[in-house]
């Protein structure tokens, strides 16, 4: 237990309890933040981290408990209350208006400078001042939709700094950033704490937690299960505290000899949403029984590459051969029929249908093939059996097969998607960010499954921004930068440093 001296206490949350129908998201949670410190919240999916912070930010109301700011009890009923009290929050999912400019997003909700005519001049100036002061490079007049993920993250932080918050909450801010960006972010955050601000940091990435935190509080099932600091603990201990059992952080890769090529990509060119080149003269080969990792800063063409391979994005030129079949002009359906599976990057957007039951989502890709479909009719007996089997095999935690999928937690939805995609014993698997936003327990499981597939002779293309993951799983790693391959490393020679350089566009 770290000693606290009441004087510099910025925030105290005491005995916070929050119940949702059927779930106790937070149970008698005590939590505090001092000026100038980074206090990390750690926990599995569904542990209650976001809920606790949403209470603090006025998005939810606590059923019990008290919140004090600088010693004074306060009630926070809405985000605006929180903002007025100097609290800022960077949400797990960006809270930006794509069709507005950076300046407009920053100015949103602030008392207008002039009643009638919108005047953003002062806002722009202040933004550029702050960009210089904190090394946050953002163009005030750029539209959000034009920005890459990393830049959007900076806009989020700019919004907080601009409002000169004294307490900033960051809910999984790094899950979409690359090492370089994470380092920059941490520098900025440190600058903020030096200025006497207090930060709450939420992340599933233990090395980040170790690197940034002053104090760490671990939640499990809504309860506080441990308080510590980096100097007193290790990643393994933290993992144990979170999950409540031993977790193996680095996946074991058994030997497996790569056989014939399952995916061949030659001179592939693909355009991005704005018609600009996203993937350029791209060459790649993935053989059965091997994992090829694609590392890179988000927004360097990975998404477009995956979509092109999936048949969701037109190919400008070049060729893609899967199992010996040219697929550049094939529909997603035809491509799937070739034994290709995907784990899409955005699980709730592309992977599953929230309103559909677990069962319906499990048959989404095979619904029109026997045994599930007979002459266009669905065979519910088959579906029932097949799905309960999958749910068991992939330990998807769901009350029933008819439960709406949106009612599952992030980790389990991801498991559901993986269960579906692997059910057909794919010969080629394209996995984008398979463990993003998923807790280490689930991540561990997913990694094992991927390794099993590899051992079973599946060819796997792993697109991930989590370098530990890429290095841990891949036989070969290609680094993408501005749509091109900057370089390819074998697993042995790959290190975070070398990859980091390539990702920054520095070829060797």
């Amino acid at each position: 237990m770290a000693p606290t001296t009441a004087g510099d206490l910025l925030l105290e949350m005491e005995g916070i309890t929050k119940r949702f129908p059927g779930v106790v998201a937070n149970e008698a949670v005590d939590f505090d933040v001092r000026r100038g410190e980074v206090h990390t919240l750690l926990g599995e999916n569904g542990a209650g981290k976001s809920t606790l912070m949403k209470i603090l930010y006025g998005l939810y109301h606590a059923d019990e408990g008290e919140v004090r700011l600088s010693g004074k009890p306060v009630t926070i009923n809405s985000p605006s209350d929180a903002i007025d009290r100097g609290i800022g929050m960077i949400h797990q999912h960006f809270m930006l208006v794509p069709t507005l400019t950076v300046a407009e997003n920053v100015a949103l909700g602030l008392p207008p400078i002039r009643r009638i005519r919108q005047d953003l001049g002062p806002v722009r100036e202040r933004i550029s001042e702050l960009s210089d002061a904190y090394g946050l490079q953002v163009d005030p007049d750029a539209y959000i939709w034009q920005l890459a993920v990393g830049e959007r993250q900076r806009v989020e932080i700019m919004k907080a700094i601009y409002r000169d918050v004294s307490l900033l909450i960051l809910d999984e801010p790094t899950s979409v950033l690359t090492p370089a960006e994470v380092d920059d972010l941490f520098v900025t955050l440190r600058q903020m704490t030096d200025g006497g601000r207090g930060l709450v940091f939420i992340s599933h990435k233990l090395h980040e937690v170790m690197a940034l935190s002053d104090r760490i509080t671990v939640l499990r099932g809504g309860r506080v299960t441990g308080r510590t600091m980096p100097s007193e603990t290790s990643r393994e201990q933290l993992a144990h505290m979170m999950v409540g059992r031993e977790v193996q952080l680095a996946p074991t890769r058994l030997e497996s000899k790569a056989a014939e090529a399952r995916l061949k990509v030659k001179d592939l060119n693909v355009l991005g949403d704005r018609g600009t080149p996203a993937v350029t003269d791209f060459d790649l080969e993935v053989r059965s029984g091997e994992v090829v990792g694609i590392a890179g800063v988000s927004g360097n063409g990975q998404r477009e590459l995956a979509e092109a391979l999936a048949g969701l994005r037109p190919v400008v030129s070049g060729e893609v051969v899967m199992n010996g079949v040219e697929t550049t002009d094939r529909t997603p359906k035809e491509i799937r029929r070739l034994g290709v599976s995907y784990i899409p990057e955005e699980r709730m957007r592309d992977g599953a249908i929230g309103e559909f039951s677990v069962a319906e989502n499990l048959i989404l890709t095979d619904h029109d093939r026997p045994p599930i479909s007979r002459r266009g009719l669905l065979d519910f007996k088959q579906i029932e059996d097949g799905c309960s089997d999958l749910v068991r095999r992939f330990t998807v935690k769901t009350p029933t097969l008819d439960t709406p999928t949106a009612n599952l937690s992030g980790g389990n939805i991801q498991k559901l998607v993986i269960a579906r995609e692997l059910s057909g014993e794919p010969e080629l698997l394209i996995a984008s960010q398979p463990t993003r936003g998923v807790d280490i327990g689930a991540a561990e499981y997913i990694h094992t499954v991927l390794m099993d597939q590899r051992a079973g002779g599946t060819a796997i293309l792993l697109i991930s921004e989590d370098l530990d993951e890429v290095i841990g799983l891949s036989d070969r790693i290609a680094v993408m930068f501005e749509g091109r391959i900057m370089g390819t490393l074998d697993q042995e020679e790959a290190t975070v440093q070398r990859l980091g350089l390539l990702m920054a566009g520095v070829s060797e």
Partner: protein, 310 residues
């Protein structure tokens, strides 16, 4: 044809086109504001009918056109509050509750008319109002500046609405709320408050649109609007949620209808060919949209109710 292409007839047709475009324009501008904040209102037709009846009845009783206009606005605004409660507080499915509002307006306006007035009684509606100087300009003056006051209002509202949406702090909130309500909310912008305002104004304009019809005609009748409201909604999509685009759409409908009428009057089209010509505006609208593909611009949160923490 020849007698159509005489200056006087052409000018007359233009003037008529502008007059016919006015109800569309007023209603569509209102709908635009609502949709920019993420609320679809298919009930415009019903609101127009109630506004039309309100304006007609007020003028009939008090012989004050001005009061008629005010009542038209007020009735529309009142319906706006109703629609706001239904879609924002009760979070009703917007597409459908709009249809409900339509049917309600259709029924109630007819009911009230039959009970309170009965036999069609003409009123002195809106006379033309010649703008001094400008009205005397050759040609232009006749076409543009000998119109009734609501015509001027409608067309002045186009730049006004553009300014409101794109150049004012409130407009920025509207755009944000229509695009990413969660983000606006997380910065303390009240999503529903913003939407209540846009719905109120939007429906008030629909009411005014109805009033403009009734007062221009100086009469009311069951289902007076006869589809104007639905076309107005369509024109919002035609205009890609931009006031100027909406104006273009309204003009297409106004001018083509005016042209068709002139042709019929002058016997240029007769009998069944008239029906063919009658399709022009609709066909044209679709064609234009096919040619100038307008996938973009739709407010992302359109028809999506906002609930905090979800």
């Amino acid at each position: 044809m020849s007698d159509f292409f005489t200056v006087s007839v052409l000018l007359a047709t233009l003037a008529a086109g502008i007059r016919l475009a006015t109800p569309f324009l007023l209603a569509a501008l209102g709908e635009t504001l609502g949709q920019r904040s993420g609320v679809l209102n298919l009930g415009v037709e019903g609101v127009m009918l109630l506004g039309a009846y309100g304006a007609y009845y007020a003028t009939l009783r008090t012989e004050s056109v001005l009061l008629g206009i005010v009542i038209g606005l007020a009735v529309g605004g009142a319906m706006g509050i109703v629609y706001g409660v239904v879609t924002l507080a009760l979070k009703a499915e917007q597409g459908i509750s709009g249809i409900g509002i339509f049917i309600f307006g259709l029924g109630l306006s007819d009911l009230l008319f039959q009970k309170q007035v009965g036999t069609p009684t003409p009123i002195d509606g809106l006379g033309d109002l010649a703008i001094p100087v400008l009205g005397d300009l050759p040609w232009v003056g006749e076409v543009l500046f000998h119109q009734n006051v609501l015509v001027y209002v409608a067309f002045l509202l186009v730049p006004a609405m553009w300014y409101l949406i794109n150049r004012t702090p409130f407009g920025m909130n509207v755009r944000a709320v229509g695009e990413t309500p969660e983000a606006a909310d997380s910065l303390g912008v009240s999503v529903n408050r913003t939407r209540y305002i846009t719905i109120f104004v939007g429906n008030a304009l629909a009411g005014l649109a109805g009033a403009s019809l009734a007062l221009e005609l100086g009469i009311f009748q069951q289902n007076l609007t006869n589809g104007h409201g639905f076309i107005a909604v369509a024109l919002v999509y035609f205009g890609a949620w931009r006031p100027v685009g909406v104006m273009a759409g309204s003009m297409v409908f106004g001018l083509v209808s005016a042209m068709v009428l002139q042709w019929k009057t002058l016997g240029i089209v007769v009998g069944t060919t008239a029906s063919i010509v009658g399709m022009f505006p609709a066909v044209l609208t679709i064609l234009v949209l096919v040619l100038v593909s307008r996938r973009t611009g739709s407010p992302s949160a359109l028809t999506r109710p906002f609930e905090r923490g979800h």
